[in-house]
Symmetry: C2
Subunit: 248 residues, 2 copies
Amino acid sequence: MSVHDLKIGHPNCGDCPIRHRAVCARCESDELAKLDSIKYYRSFQAGQTVIWSGDRMDFVASVVTGIATLTQTMEDGRRQMVGLLLPSDFVGRPGRSQAAYDVTATTDLVMCCFRKKPFEDLMGSTPHIAQRLLEMTLDELDAAREWMLLLGRKTAREKIASLLAIIARRTASLKTAGKTSDVKFDLPLTREEMADYLGLTLETVSRQMSALKRDGVIELEGKRQIIVQSLDRLLEETGDDSDGGFLV
Amino acid sequence: MSVHDLKIGHPNCGDCPIRHRAVCARCESDELAKLDSIKYYRSFQAGQTVIWSGDRMDFVASVVTGIATLTQTMEDGRRQMVGLLLPSDFVGRPGRSQAAYDVTATTDLVMCCFRKKPFEDLMGSTPHIAQRLLEMTLDELDAAREWMLLLGRKTAREKIASLLAIIARRTASLKTAGKTSDVKFDLPLTREEMADYLGLTLETVSRQMSALKRDGVIELEGKRQIIVQSLDRLLEETGDDSDGGFLV
DNA sequence: CGCAGAATTGATACATCTCAAGCTGGGTGG
DNA sequence: CCACCCAGCTTGAGATGTATCAATTCTGCG
């Protein structure tokens, strides 16, 4: 928690880019007004730590823009990323006072924060918030379980392909409906962060990226820009059912 | 879903062994009465499948007695267990019509089921149910994330020790508060099921069990009965922080 | 008794890790 | 403007942990 945090504000929730997807998605205007009154924004620079596991955490928050990660670290330094927080994702747990994970900004990050106590009170009185939070938590649980399959059973190549597919699909859905069109996107993660997410070493990530490039599954433009000619081809490499899971 | 299902019933919720921990834990007596009116029990024999991933699922349920597993399977047969359902745990997702995972009874199993539609309606009108379900889902999310660390970063020996520690601790907490006393318990899983849970092969599980026995960390009585002389010693083998996580 | 499922153990293969050396590109100070 | 520097990345060679394939051994049960 550094002095670099900026207190900036979207003037009101109506203009908020995550209004329709975040924990406030279902709120009526009167509920939104209450949320509005207890919210504040915080900004972090890429690489900054938002909070350390075990630290007192007296707020909950939504990611507005940027990307953050949730990681767990073992005593000897082994690290495993357990969540990737994208815009509209929620951080923190009502009813818990300590952070359970390290939260780090991997890009510049803006979060919409609510002090925990008022937020909890609001949850009791406005069922729409609790409803939406339940829905989001169930989605995260599904995502975590899909990741368990990846971590426990997929090969290094499948792991990389799966990660790229997730990012590519998300990018593609914003642009075109067609499946076979080119997709081009920036990797928001370093090789090491990818390794921490996938349960690999950064060398293995690098080798598999090179292999996928050599095999024509992806193209690289610089280190971070990825071009996927055929999403279908990439999906074949993930090891997942070809019909595509019904969970995103 | 076989004809073996038995329709039996605990006469009323007050006598229910999971009353205080399940999704109904917070309910007042009037709320309980409503739940009571839509509940029905189903029994499964050890080994039976409760539901297959992708099947239509028109109920949600609590495990009353016995143990069930949630598993995901890849096209080529690789399997990963993504959840272990113990008494009071909840199965199914309000708002979803298809099962996302295979659910299997690993021991004889009794579940308390609610048809999905009435349950969803009830959730809207009785906030205590939704509250409790949110709490339980957040706990499961934490458990899933702890498992991600295990799957991604722990060695085979640490994985086995972690699984045994979880079961041992749960057993121990029922009996004694002291940490160093003997713990003796039945493994509710076959070696293959352990392997599916831990992201290993059954041979590796067997070898590591033998190694832990050879090193005096555990003793075996038959194949399934485990004796842990020193829980602390077992915990050392898990790779986790020695102070013990604050999540159970 | 003998069979079948479960578990153990052995030998070998292989994927990934580890350690180590270079490469690359963008930023900085001389 | 160049040379250097450094984080991020790539590539190589060898070590190692786990998977794979295969042969026994247990254990409970009809």
